[in-house]
């Protein structure tokens, strides 16, 4: 089994490679529901990739398969050279701990921990030392470090989730609808932060927000579990047109 290496040391080698990925779920009638149909793609170091498409097109499932949270039905997914389909639970845990960051729509902060403790959590799991206060300062929440999630607004909680990613400096960040539950102002702020993250490492973001998608280096438009269009440095109007064509 190949040992994962940092994207910094692999030059142009893709951070994420997906080959002929399919994913099906069992249906209530005993059959299967195909969600992803033969997807192949690569994510380069430092690339900001957005995945858009109509509801049910398989965006979130693709993200979860790419990150190893969901096993593929067939095909192969490699993250930093490591095949996540064949890796043991322990190896996957180490890969996530040391090289991967997640940002979810529903924030998913641990309610019993303060903002500072939530930010430091992945590093604590990896037995690494980080400065959570620096990361919180970067997202403008230095004065909220000792607050628990229940005392923070949705936008603030999502910024804590981004600070958690910033603190451990992973090679790739997977973001699932990171602005989905936020108002416009908070959403813009979160996107600015994500764009900043993408300057130093790869970001894969699933979103319904087409203006947000247009800030990415590349946009994949999914339709019925397959890649319908691929746009590079698109104008927002091009993204709108591509998604309209996929609906």
């Amino acid at each position: 089994m190949p040992t994962p290496v940092s994207a910094d040391t692999i030059g142009g080698m893709p951070v994420v490679e997906v080959e002929n990925l399919t994913k099906s779920f069992p249906a209530a009638d005993g059959g299967v529901v195909p969600v992803l149909r033969g997807i192949t793609l690569q994510v380069a170091p430092g690339e900001f990739l957005a995945v858009v498409g109509p509801s049910g097109s398989g965006k979130s499932t693709l993200l979860y398969c790419m990150s190893g949270l969901e096993p593929a039905t067939t095909g192969r997914v490699r993250v930093l050279g490591q095949d996540v389909g064949t890796a043991s639970r322990g190896a996957l845990a180490k890969l996530r701990r040391d090289h991967v960051g997640f940002i979810f729509q529903s924030y998913n902060l641990i309610p019993s921990l303060t903002a500072r403790e939530n930010v430091a959590l992945p590093a604590r799991l990896a037995r690494r030392r980080v400065n959570p206060d620096d990361a919180l300062a970067q997202v403008g929440l230095a004065d909220r470090a000792s607050y628990r999630p229940a005392a923070l607004s949705g936008g603030q909680q999502q910024r804590v989730a981004i600070a958690r990613v910033l603190a451990v400096r992973p090679d790739v960040v997977f973001a699932d609808e990171p602005t989905g539950a936020l108002d416009t102002e908070s959403g813009t702020r979160v996107l600015d932060l994500l764009a900043g993250v993408a300057r130093e490492r790869s970001v894969v973001m699933v979103t319904h927000d087409l203006e947000a998608a247009a800030r990415a280096d590349r946009v994949l438009v999914l339709r019925d579990g397959a890649i319908h269009r691929e746009l590079t440095h698109p104008h927002p109007d091009d993204v709108f047109a591509a998604v309209a064509g996929a609906s």
């Binding site: 979860y64 845990a93 180490k94 529903s106 998913n108 799991l125």
Partner: protein, 431 residues
């Protein structure tokens, strides 16, 4: 409305099953007390006098335990569903209507549980009499009676304690602004309420009254036995004032950098552990308090047999430990979400199981410390009243703590193990 009541009971089966279990357990224990009284009434003579004395002690211990355990579980039942009540408010249900629905649910579940609990007691009573009264041929030969007239007060007591306790919590939940409930990912912090102040103060007053009555008493054992569970009641009532700090203080014996699992368990327990720790404190106090009281009053010549211990505190002890396990079972969905997040953040299965086990150790460790304090109060009062110091409460307290740890470990680790087999993405999906 009937459809909403039934669909909500089904959708939140895990929470309501916990409440049903506790209602049934409380009724089973109550049935034993009621049976003692009924049997005494039919037996008459000196046998009746002996049974009245025993049933009085059991009734007092049962009522103290039931009020603490049932109150805790019922409040948790309602609090865990605060999010659903917020959604009900958003679709136009008034707080009064929500309170009515929840009260109806509580009444239905408590009545069903109480009936099941009384039915479950029927086959237990005869073997219990035979075992508990082994040393007394007259009492062990008795045929225990437990008729409908004995069962009705038990069913009524269980239903009233659960419904009134839950209805107050439902009133608070129904009046919480829905957006606040929907935003809060965690259970609201336990706060001091007027009921807690009142209950705690009342328990302190009863302890003071018992203590004042002890000098010169010819049979101090029974009143002394009540002091430890009452002290536990004081600690549980005033828990929100000191429990989070107390948990953080004693768990700091292991530095935060030493173990990520301990660190996670420590924070989780300090924040939301009160509901689980309370019943465990009562369990430790019941066992230790009984032996400490016996040690002080018998001055070294203990008359407690195993049968007597089972008869006096077996039921309340069972209720307390079941109550603790039920709170863990009821809130396991929230725990699953935290474990899924840990998996996503790179936590290994070993770390998650270790965190679950650490949580159990912290629950029981905290309960043991507070329970031993309650036992120590009994020993001090006993020494003051009888001029005899007794350490007899220590070993029973430790024994109950070890037995509870096995059950609580099962309740925390097994769901964690099952959670590891679930799809992380499904657990973490936006609600």
């Amino acid at each position: 409305m009937l459809r909403l009541i039934v669909s909500d009971l089904t959708a939140n089966a895990r929470v309501w099953l916990g409440a049903l279990l506790i209602a049934a357990a409380a009724a089973t224990v109550g049935a034993m007390v009621a049976s003692d009284i009924e049997t005494a009434l039919s037996a008459g003579g000196t046998t009746a006098l002996a049974l009245y004395g025993i049933s009085g002690t059991i009734a007092a211990l049962t009522v103290i335990t039931a009020l603490i355990v049932v109150g805790t579980v019922t409040t948790l039942t309602v609090t865990l569903q605060q999010r659903a009540y917020a959604l009900w408010q958003l679709i136009g249900l008034t707080p009064a209507r929500i309170r009515l629905i929840v009260t109806t649910q509580l009444l239905a579940v408590s009545l069903l549980g109480a009936v099941l609990g009384c039915a479950a007691a029927l086959p237990i009573l005869q073997p219990l009499y035979a075992y508990a009264f082994t040393g007394s041929p007259d009492l062990s030969a008795l045929h225990p009676r437990f008729t409908l007239s004995g069962a009705l007060p038990v069913i009524l007591f269980v239903a009233v304690v659960i419904t009134i306790g839950g209805s107050r919590a439902a009133g608070r939940a129904a009046h919480t602004p829905p957006i606040q409930s929907l935003r809060e990912a965690s259970l609201p912090a336990r706060r001091m309420t007027p009921a807690r102040w009142l209950t705690g103060s009342l328990a302190v007053a009863i302890i003071a009254a018992i203590t004042a009555s002890l000098p010169g008493s010819t049979s101090p054992a029974v009143p002394l036995t009540l002091i430890a569970p009452l002290t536990a009641g004081v600690l549980v009532s005033f828990g929100p004032l000191f429990l989070p700090g107390f948990v953080r203080a004693w768990t700091s014996v292991l530095p935060p950098t030493a173990s990520a699992a301990w660190y996670l368990a420590r924070n989780a327990t300090a924040t939301r552990g009160g509901a689980t720790i309370g019943p465990l404190v009562v369990a430790v106090a019941l066992a230790g308090g009984l032996f400490a009281a016996d040690g002080a009053s018998s001055q070294g010549s203990s008359t407690l047999t195993t049968g007597a211990v089972v008869l006096l505190i077996g039921g309340p002890l069972l209720l307390a430990v079941l109550g603790s396990v039920a709170t863990i079972f009821m809130s396991s969905r929230r725990r699953e979400r935290e474990f899924a997040l840990l998996v996503a953040a790179g936590g290994t299965p070993g770390l998650i199981l270790l965190a679950a086990a650490s949580e159990a150790v912290i629950y029981v460790g905290t309960a043991l410390l507070l329970g031993l304090f309650s036992v120590a109060v009994t020993s001090v009062v006993g020494a003051w009243a009888t001029h005899a110091w007794s350490w007899a409460g220590v070993m029973p307290s430790l024994t109950v703590a070890v037995a509870s740890l096995l059950l609580v470990l099962t309740a925390t680790v097994l769901p964690a193990y099952a959670g590891l087999r679930q799809r992380v993405t499904r657990v973490l999906a936006a609600e």
